[in-house]
């Protein structure tokens, strides 16, 4: 058992899979010699060589195209898109090519690839380097989408993503890279499509993802002091979605809150709210409440960014208001 940072866990997970399977390659900008701009791929170039850890030009379409073509012909690449915001410059390859190839060819093609990317805000990087874009990916049939929130989950979900025969978008939260957690020694393999109950509770279900999981847990502690017992679920995987775990909890507590870092419209919580309204409406004791970033680009100044991202205080207030409704 070791204390690993979230960023160390990324390279630990990749190293585990590269050592196990010679078909696993890693490509991206500055990932090799430099170890990644977020230092999530440190040491991999030295361990596995420049053939398997490839430093690329700033060419996001070329990077993802290379990953796709390689996946179609026997390799299992992991590609890095440095900031998730940059998906916008290569979204064609993701949406029109990678996601649809298997379907359009009637199953002739298999696409075992992982795209890892630094996602999310809280680092004061402004509107083009801070977005949470899981919901973009969730909207496209043919993509699997995971967002780990702990170092242990990073390792296990990376392993699951690499071993999956479908394309997986692996969203690392930039605001969590420095966070630490216990990671046992030995091989760790998790499962895609499983949510995790981080704190059991009976009065309300709070769903969160990435950086928001910790904030939801802090809010739950504060609410517990007031006698409100909140269940916090780390959704972890948007596609496939573990609706069983989510709906079981919502039916039991009768109250659903989502904590979403994405801007308001069409965030992942909206889909889950719709499923809950459809399938456990009669178990609900109050309207479903989504706690999100407002529908604005993220500002850069710390005071402004803090004011608009869902905060512990906002979660506490909204849940309290809902429970006492």
């Amino acid at each position: 058992m070791a204390q690993l940072s979230y960023r160390e866990a990324v390279s630990r997970g990749i190293a585990q899979e590269m050592a196990r399977d010679g078909r696993v390659m890693l490509i991206g900008e500055d990932i090799g010699g430099a170890g990644g701009v977020f230092k999530t791929t440190g040491g991999l170039s030295e361990q596995f060589g420049r053939t398997r850890v490839v430093d690329t030009p700033i060419s996001e379409q070329a990077i993802l195209g290379a990953a796709m073509g390689a996946a179609m012909t026997g390799l299992r690449p992991i590609a890095e898109i440095m900031f998730a915001d940059f998906f916008a410059v290569c979204w064609d390859i993701v949406v029109n090519e990678i996601a649809k190839m298997r379907y359009m060819t009637n199953g002739q093609v298999t696409m075992p690839l992982v795209i890892k990317s630094g996602n999310g805000g809280s680092l004061r990087m402004g509107a083009q380097h801070s977005q949470s874009v899981e919901n973009w990916a969730m909207a496209v049939p043919g993509l699997k989408v995971v967002t780990p929130s702990t170092p242990l989950d990073v390792v296990g979900l990376m392993a699951a993503a690499v071993r999956c025969d479908d394309p997986v978008l692996f969203f690392e939260h930039k605001g969590l890279y420095a966070s630490k957690g216990e990671v046992p020694d030995g091989e760790i393999v998790d499962e895609l499509g499983k949510a995790a109950i981080r704190r059991p509770g009976k009065d309300a279900t709070v769903l969160a993802l990435g950086l928001m999981v910790g904030r939801a847990l802090d809010a739950a502690e504060e609410l517990a002091r007031e006698g409100i017992d909140v269940e916090v679920i780390d959704v972890r995987s948007l596609v496939p979605l573990d609706t069983q775990t989510l709906l079981t909890s919502i039916s039991r507590t009768g109250r659903l809150f989502t904590v979403e870092e994405n801007p308001r419209l069409l965030g992942w919580g909206a889909e889950i709210a719709s499923i809950a309204a459809d399938e456990c409406f009669w178990d609900l004791d109050m309207p479903i409440r989504r706690i999100t970033t407002p529908h604005i680009p993220l500002p850069s100044a710390d005071s402004l960014e803090d004011a608009v991202l869902p905060s512990v205080d906002r979660i506490v207030q909204d849940v309290r208001k809902g429970v006492y409704l």
């Binding site: 379409q61 290379a66 390689a70 390859i93 190839m101």
Partner: protein, 354 residues
């Protein structure tokens, strides 16, 4: 290729005329059997596309379609030169790219007709023809994207040491999109075994490529930017294409890296089903119709001593094959509706939740 400025109803742009002498390449060193094989390929591609056009006119084929009529020599030449396990990345104008790898006609026609016996069971259509068992790793309908994907297949072949070469076709219009430039630089930097083939048919869609491109030769003039030699060839002469293809494939196979080939050609029809092609000057169209890849090749073979009757037998055999393929395609049943819900994922299904 001479440029003459011609006025016509869509405005003015320079006409580009085909080479005047069609006897110039008679002496290329290509075995007679290979030449007959190339001729058969030309016939197959021509007659297939004519049949596809007829089926569109009969409204049996829905959606859009992009035919290669007039451009057959490029696919035929490459198809003849490629190794069986090489990879092809085709465009949405990809019937010829696909057939030239040996994919049977019937499943391709059935795919156009939306039948269960189609190459992809009716889930891909004209613009996405794929036959992995023949090395056709897809036809791509977003301009430029597949150049990047072709690099990946080439990278994989390089890593596996398989000696396979990837051939990626694209149109002249593609040279103006970012993905083209990303892909060329990437292929050159990593010395990938890939051959990029620009089918320059002089019109990006409805607009003359010369009008909206900063250099006269949209692909060849860009080659220098990626450290590659400028290769511009007559894309209507199947012998020239075959010889150029063989050289580029050999270079890639022996570790010499990528090539960029600009093959100048002309499409006999419009861009797609919806386009009558009226933006093209009459003199230009006539000149290129006369400089037809099949016409010039038959004439060459005759000059080289092949009996016309021998060529007619090939033509007749192909006609019969197209008829049989049409029947087989038409006899296919419609796909089961359930098949719309298969193969989103590798487990064969489309479930996104538990």
């Amino acid at each position: 290729m001479t440029a003459i400025r011609t006025e016509h109803e869509y405005g003015a742009h320079p006409s580009v005329l085909p080479p005047a002498a069609s006897t110039a390449q008679d002496d290329l060193d290509i075995a007679p059997a290979v030449r007959l094989d190339l001729y058969r390929r030309l016939e197959e591609l021509r007659q297939f596309e004519k049949r596809a056009y007829d089926l569109f006119m009969q409204q049996l084929v829905k959606g859009t379609s992009h035919l290669s009529l007039g451009m057959e020599a490029i696919s035929a030449g490459f198809g003849g030169a490629m190794r069986k396990d090489d990879y092809t990345f085709a465009t949405y104008r990809g019937h010829a790219h696909t057939l030239s790898r040996g994919v049977p006609m019937a499943p391709v026609l059935a795919e156009l007709l939306g039948r269960a016996n189609g190459l992809m069971g009716g889930k891909g259509g004209s613009m996405h023809l794929t036959s992995v068992e023949h090395g056709v790793l897809g036809s791509y309908a977003i301009i430029g994207a597949h150049l990047c994907v072709a690099n990946g297949a080439a990278w994989s072949a390089q890593v596996r040491g398989s000696g396979q070469v990837t051939v990626c076709f694209f149109g002249d219009g593609t040279t103006n999109i970012g993905a083209f430039h990303e892909a060329l630089n990437y292929a050159a930097v990593f010395s990938l075994p890939v051959v990029f083939v620009c089918e320059n048919n002089l019109y990006m869609e409805y607009t003359s490529i010369a009008e909206i491109t900063a250099v006269p030769s949209p692909a060849a003039d860009r080659a220098a930017a990626y450290g590659l030699p400028a290769i511009k060839i007559d894309g209507n002469d199947v012998d020239v294409v075959y010889r150029t293809a063989a050289d580029a494939l050999e270079l890639a196979r022996s570790g010499g890296g990528p090539s960029l080939i600009e093959a100048v050609t002309y499409r006999h029809g419009g861009h797609s089903r919806a386009d009558p092609g009226k933006y093209r000057p009459a003199g230009e169209v006539e000149a290129w119709l006369a400089y037809d890849p099949l016409t010039i090749y038959r004439a060459r073979l005759a000059r080289l001593g092949v009996a016309e009757s021998e060529l007619d037998v090939i033509r007749g055999d192909v006609a019969q094959a197209v008829d049989e393929a049409t029947e087989e395609a038409k006899n296919g049943r419609l796909p089961d509706v359930e098949s719309a819900f298969t193969d989103v994922w590798a487990d064969g299904g489309s479930q996104w939740r538990n």
